[in-house]
């Protein structure tokens, strides 16, 4: 890993953002409001019923807060939602290939988005307050578990989305699958027992978003002591698969050209 390059790209990022200072704040504020709108759904639901399958509102808030942390770290380094359009259709991937740098690292650095980290802060704040309501007694193990699950979550996201953007090497679809996956991702914030078997299997083993949300959060809520430790394992597996697909995709791009 070349850290000097990371700082160089980070410098470019800061300079670009500084040119549009107001937008920086607009983005942070809109992002906060985005989260609040999502939380509003939970609030509305609990106005109708005191408990959903035995989960209290504070517990669902806690899961939501946790869910935000790995995701915001992930999007800081993965801001490639328009990868197909920008790099494949418009052909910028050619330029990436003419630089002496690993292509994935280059793409990640070129599109850094550290403002997403605000989401991690919001997430931790939400976790803190809902944990107080629930009355969670923090232990040292929780700190280790938190670190492990956040890193594992990042790996899972990286694996799934790297896999997804690799597909744009093979197909002409511009926007099809990404929003689909993004939608599904948001179902990982809810207890798995509300879903039927099919969706549960989907979220656990196919696109394992349960492992970036409710499974690890359940550890801190003292509902599930085990699943959390599986998070990094699944992350590593899925990222390895994605890297292989990426390899193939890159090869196919260079084989087919544009």
């Amino acid at each position: 890993m070349r850290f000097d390059l990371f700082f160089e790209y980070f410098r470019i990022y800061i300079q670009t953002r500084m040119m549009y200072r107001i937008d920086f704040w607009v983005e942070i504020v809109t992002d906060m409001m985005f989260q609040m709108v999502n939380l509003a759904v939970i609030v509305v639901a609990y106005k109708l019923t005191p408990t959903i399958l035995g989960w209290s509102q504070a517990e669902l808030f806690f899961v939501y807060g946790f869910f935000m942390v790995p995701y915001s770290f992930f999007t800081t380094f993965f801001n490639l939602w328009n990868f197909a359009d920008r790099y494949i259709v418009k052909g910028e991937f050619d330029r990436v290939l003419t630089r002496p740098m690993n292509s994935i690292v280059q793409l990640s650095f070129e599109n850094l988005d550290p403002s997403s980290l605000a989401g991690a802060v919001t997430g931790v704040v939400i976790m803190y307050f809902s944990a107080q309501t629930i009355g969670i007694q923090w232990q040292l193990l929780d700190l280790v578990a938190f670190f492990v699950s956040v890193v594992g979550g990042i790996l899972i996201y990286a694996g799934i989305y790297l896999f997804m953007i690799s597909l744009s090497f093979f197909t002409d679809a511009q926007t099809g699958i990404m929003p689909l996956i993004w939608n599904i991702q948001n179902y990982g914030k809810f207890p798995m027992d509300i879903y039927n078997k099919m969706i549960r299997v989907l979220l656990t083993w196919v696109v394992p978003f349960a492992f970036v949300g409710v499974y690890p959060a359940a550890f801190f809520l003292r509902r599930d002591g085990l699943s959390l430790w599986l998070t990094p394992v699944i992350g590593l597996i899925i990222l390895s698969i994605a890297l292989v697909i990426w390899r193939f995709g890159e090869r196919s791009y260079r084989g087919a050209g544009s």
Binding site: A45, A173, I194, I199
Partner: protein
Amino acid sequence: MWGAYGELIRLRFLIMLTYRVNYYSGIVIYAINIGANYFLWKAIYGSNTQLADMTIAQMTTYLAIAWMARSFYFNNLDREMSTEIRDGSLAIQMVRPYNYLMVKMMQGFGEGLSRFVLFSVPGMIVASLLFPVQLTKDPLHWVFFLGMVFLSFLLNSMINLIAGLMTFYLEQIEGLLRLKRVIVDLFSGLLVPLSFFPGAAKSVLEWLPFQAITYLPASYLAGKTINVSAGHVFLVQLLWVTGLMVPLVWIWHSARQRLFVQGG
């Protein structure tokens, strides 16, 4: 003139067909969304047979209809527009002998039409098989509903165009557009029917245009609102279409001034 607009609709229809992965994934998107929302609500209902003014069966039907309507009224005109403004192709559009806003509307219409025909209808059939959806068999209801969905399309597209025009005033618009999307989804009643909101929120939402996009048409077809007639739904929708016309035209004119000054 109208021939040109017709051609734009056809063209967009064809473009939508070109991306077949989009097509297949689109069907899956709708099935999964309806499914996940269904299970979430089933969990919320728990042992209750009725919450607010809906039974679980009505809720299921409501969700399916709401998502079907969404597939028609939803489009990315805002994002497209902001791209066109930023890369300067808006300037090229301006020298063509048609109205740019109309062009965008027509493109959105072609997109909505293709999505509706190609995957809402098949998606709806799949949903009715998987979940206890009870659709009305009265053809008149369906005719009225189609009219309402068309007005929903107009409303949502107008909101999208206004949001897209904001590109003239903000350099980075991505955050705003994302926020707009969740606000429309929530406030229109797609995720939660309006009658489920707490009192204060409900009365605020009733004064906003979003309810006319999803909540009113979907409630009408789901047969929930006995006291709300088709006439009422149409009236509210038409009022909002007229009401949104004012800011849209005004912003468009002031944005054009900016275009001429900035030179795109």
